[in-house]
């Protein structure tokens, strides 16, 4: 399953949001080096405003790096990739569209679906309905987003990110606004979808348990400068069950990661770093 050629490759990537900040040598992310294998599930954890979302923008091509090289699927990223899907903390569904039409939105935009959308509408709708069923939203296709609960909206948002069968799924704190039980339920849904389809996942989160439960590899990011400071392979056996989160092995990994983040904070308060006002869009 693991091919030798990485699917995503970051080669000393730096990003300053504009020329002014570049002149002041204030970078949102610094010297990011990373290799993600095809089908790998990675998680990025770190304090707020550490450049996690910047990392996502770089990976999808929404932002070009100031220095360094980013390759996805063997090719340099020069503009928005059409092989990725995104979901954020806010479900950001369109209130004038039904849940079904919201999920169908990417197919109206991305090729080759765009040009065949009218002709194959029934087929696409069927696909969307199946996907909604998969995340527990069967029967809610004709409801509007504002008729759904927060957790249900988030499920629909994940369906929207997956409907065009992207090779890469980017999740920016997708479960951050949900209650603990809904969150765990959605962890399992995401785990199952990933196990079936084996797309690449990049999950940005504050929640260490979430990252350890779901990911193959966890990266810890430091705040200003935004750098990766720790890479931790999670070798807990799969398939993973929620029960796993209560075992001591799991707790040890979480504790270890927590230690890194703790150390990070300690060192920061000890030695004041330059550039506190680094803008990072989280």
């Amino acid at each position: 399953m693991m091919s030798s050629k990485p699917f995503v490759e970051f080669n000393s990537v730096w990003l300053a949001y504009n020329d002014e900040l570049l002149a002041k040598q204030q970078f949102a992310v610094e010297d990011i080096n990373l290799e993600i294998q095809s089908g790998e599930f990675i998680a990025i954890v770190g304090p707020s405003g550490c450049g996690k979302s910047t990392f996502m923008k770089l990976t999808t091509g929404l932002r070009r790096p100031t220095r360094g090289l980013i390759k996805v699927d063997g090719e340099e990223v020069t503009g928005p990739l059409k092989i990725s899907g995104m979901a954020f903390q806010a479900p950001s569904l369109l209130p004038w569209r039904t849940t079904l039409d919201n999920v169908l939105l990417p197919l109206e935009i991305v090729e080759p679906h765009r040009s065949q959308f009218k002709a194959k509408k029934a087929e696409y709708e069927h696909r969307a309905v199946e996907l909604l069923k998969r995340v527990g939203l069967g029967g809610y296709e004709r409801q509007f987003p504002w008729q759904l609960s927060g957790g249900m909206q988030q499920r629909a948002s994940i369906c929207r990110a997956l409907i065009h069968e992207p090779k890469m799924l980017l999740l920016d704190e997708p479960f951050g606004a949900l209650d603990a039980f809904t969150r765990e339920e959605l962890w399992c849904i995401l785990r199952d979808l990933w196990t079936e389809q084996k797309f690449n996942v990049i999950l940005v989160t504050h929640d260490l348990r979430e990252s350890v439960f779901l990911a193959d590899t966890v990266y810890v990011m430091s705040k200003s400068p935004g750098r990766f400071i720790v890479k931790r392979d999670i070798d807990l056996p799969r398939p993973r069950d929620l029960e796993l989160t209560y075992t001591s092995g799991f707790a040890d990994v979480v504790h270890e990661l927590r230690g890194h983040i703790g150390a990070l904070r300690g060192s920061q308060s000890g030695t004041p770093t330059q550039g506190t006002g680094t803008p990072t869009a989280t």
Partner: protein, 256 residues
């Protein structure tokens, strides 16, 4: 519960009737002359007596207003779309538009008369000038305040700026648009009437001036009532359209 809802629904009528009764009472008790401040019954009498004349003037004011308002919708939507979708256009156009909007539109009437002569032209243009601004501003606001995350979701898929505008920007600004129509239509009636007062031989504005100069206060008030009623009917019409086309905007929850 049901009773209080009924009360709420009929409250505008109750207030109207109360106001009319009070007005009538004041006029009767203090025996105010009809030349100074006509009572509701006097106004109603005048309305009946001159219904044909008032009707003709009202029709003229109505279609002139609608012509100016239609023009305002076209120009307002186009300009709003332009400045809402381009930062450059927004920066360039907005200050100029604000300055223009601050000018009293009644001051344009003499100029318009020089250009177009007495009649339909100045009235339509005054209605247009006074009412396109809110439409333009609302369309622009709707387009310019797009959530960045929503834009990212689409741009990641390779959506062009145009796609984002059509799929998200325009539907999203529809509630703003209908909201602005309600404001704009009332302004358009003001524009027409003001223009007709000096630059027309027809319309409610003209009727007001000629009734006033011959001391027929009952007739003048009847004219005012007719304009008010027309504006209110159009307002309610757009309010109805707004509720039935953009119901999603009145649900609240999603957009926090």
């Amino acid at each position: 519960m049901k009773w209080s809802k009924k009360l709420e629904a009929s409250s505008p009528w109750i207030l109207l009737i109360f106001t009319l009764l009070l007005w009538q009472a004041v006029c009767t008790v203090f025996s105010v002359s009809d030349f100074i401040f006509p009572s509701p019954t006097k106004i109603a009498q005048e309305l009946m007596q001159y219904s044909a004349i008032i009707g003709a003037h009202a029709w003229r004011t109505y279609w002139v207003t609608m012509a100016g308002f239609g023009l305002a919708i076209v120009v307002g939507v186009l300009l709003g779309f332009l400045i809402g979708s381009s930062r450059l256009a927004y920066t360039a156009v907005y200050p100029l538009m604000t300055a223009f909007n601050a000018l009293p539109k009644a001051a344009f009437v003499p100029i318009l008369v020089v250009w177009f002569g007495i009649g339909v032209g100045p009235a339509i243009l005054t209605a247009f000038l006074i009412s396109f601004f809110p439409i333009m501003v609302n369309i622009a606001t709707g387009l310019a305040t797009l959530e960045p995350e929503l834009e990212d979701v689409l741009r990641v898929l390779g959506a062009k700026r145009w796609d984002v505008l059509i799929k998200v920007g325009l539907p999203r600004s529809l509630p703003y648009f209908y909201g602005s129509l309600k404001v704009a239509i009332t302004l358009a009636f003001v524009g027409t009437t003001v223009s007709e007062m000096t630059a027309a031989n027809e319309g409610i504005g003209y009727l007001l001036i000629s009734a006033g100069s011959s001391m027929r206060m009952g007739l003048a008030f009847a004219g005012l009532v007719v304009v008010g009623v027309m504006a209110m009917i159009m307002y309610e019409l757009f309010s109805y359209v707004e509720k039935h086309t953009t119901a999603w905007a009145h649900q609240g929850s999603q957009n926090r």
